[in-house]
Symmetry: C2
């Protein structure tokens, strides 16, 4: 078994109503691989950073025992930088700046040793790059893919091509509506499944997530957070926890997909409790199990 | 055991993307009592209509074995009339007209025989009238109350007074945020509980509902509806199903409150499948049980 994660590594400047942080380590591949690493190790990462990527960033990934062979470092370049500000209810954010820097020329090269990875997680990057990754892989068992409004609107044709080559698509509710042109989320899920992925997961933020397969609709609750500190990376963390659990168990049954959704939600709930990747540092398996059980309590009811 | 419902009876003109209907029987008390009647009988209704209230409307309530002693008929007056149009995604609606007619002078008079009712459901009416109802009651066991933006904004002081006298408040997410001035729904629930009701239920439409008590947070899924025909009355139907189940079982434990939320959701899911009150006509207990179990499947997952 093996897990390969491809996506961005970034330096994020984040403002929330509770504080702000400058140039903290972030990026989709960082969050995905850190979350997955709680279930499966070592996770392999493929991405690109500049010479300014801090020693702490590398140390964080190393702490999580992430295989960095596929991490390209352009010493003379600058790391992808994103700056954003969350509004008071944390449900909306404004992007203040996006400097792609070395990420602009990212051309993912999968190390020979990683090409047989059984689980591939394609972070939210250009669908053209996602396909380029898949062309280098040797018959992966499961391909899990994230995307966003930007690609749905600007690279629709390319995204549709990617969708034909993946097994699981993870996206949020507004993205699902945009991609399917269908306001009803259940119908949207069906439309998207017909585009390729046999499993679609629609994230609904504070309302939880929907898992849609051929025969199952599963509604996962959201963890009742009173104090969300920083939502950055929650979606990537969800994808990482989901993928990590599947890789750990190597079980693609619908019952296990449900558990994977809850483990993804569990990791995401830890992520948003602290700034940046801090929430994904040093969690114990006991903490994760405990919160998983809280998710059960939250949605459990008996007939009588 | 006995259930008293106070609220509006109306004639609704409804336009949805799927069709329209003119002057169909509606109103909060109609939906609440019809839904509750599937669990408990006879439900007592207190409301007011004009001489134009159609024979079919009375027949519908009689079919549901609803006690009409408290229904005031002003032969020379006209029934409350509401007209609205739903937008294409059915999540938003525009009110086209509201003619209060006889409802403008509604002064609920609780028949002597009904004053000892143990369960009281106060539909979405002026909080001043809600208090007037409670003053006529003889120590009810449970008072369940609905409200809306209009009263939160225009009769805030009076509503806060009502809240001190009730046990369960049912409202939707935007109303909860408005009433509590708190964007986080879990915090909003706590703030509202501190205003009086020991149980708060926050309806989230297509995202289900939250039940908040002193020690429990329960997240109920939404039934995955692909074809919502007409959302009118769904919230009232939820309240009726919830109240009816509690009255049937006379059990206020947290486990049973959860079941009541699911039964409320179950009835609401039937309601929106047809225009007006049609979805609440002639359901069998087997149909209701079957859908209740589908709600369980929807949110059930096992640890391993």
């Amino acid at each position: 078994m093996s897990v390969l994660v491809v996506g961005s590594l970034a330096l994020d400047t984040i403002e929330t109503p509770f504080g702000s942080v400058k140039d903290t380590v972030g990026g989709s591949a960082t969050y995905i691989s850190a979350a997955a690493s709680y279930f499966f190790s070592p996770v392999r990462i493929v991405g690109i950073v500049g010479g300014d990527f801090p020693r702490e960033g590398v140390a964080f990934l190393e702490e999580r025992n992430i295989d960095l062979e596929g991490l390209e470092i352009i010493e003379k370049g600058k790391t992808f930088h994103w700056a954003g500000r969350y509004r008071y209810d944390l449900n909306e954010r404004d992007t203040l700046s996006t400097d792609l820097n070395v990420f602009e020329k990212f051309d993912p090269k999968i190390p020979e040793r990683h090409r047989k990875s059984r689980f591939v997680v394609l972070g939210n990057i250009d669908p053209v790059l996602q396909q380029r990754v898949l062309r280098q892989m040797d018959n992966p068992r499961v391909v899990i893919c994230d995307t966003m409004n930007y690609w749905i609107e600007r690279k629709n044709k390319e995204l549709l091509e990617t969708l034909k080559q993946i097994n699981v698509l993870i996206l949020n509710d507004s993205e699902a509506r945009l991609l399917s042109r269908e306001p009803n989320l259940i119908k949207a899920g069906k439309v998207i499944r017909a585009m390729g992925p046999s499993v679609v997961i629609i994230k609904k933020g504070e309302h939880g997530a929907l898992l849609l397969t051929e025969s199952v609709i599963f509604s996962a609750p959201a963890y009742p957070m009173e104090n969300i500190f920083d939502p950055t990376g929650a979606g990537d963390t969800f994808a990482g926890g989901f993928a990590g659990w599947l890789a750990r168990t190597d079980d693609l049954s619908e019952e296990n997909l449900k558990r994977a959704v809850i483990y993804g939600s569990t990791l995401a709930s830890f992520c948003v409790e602290k700034f940046g990747v801090e929430g994904l540092r040093g969690l114990t398996y006991l903490q994760i199990q405990d919160r998983f059980r809280q998710f059960r309590e939250l949605s459990r009811f008996d007939e009588d």
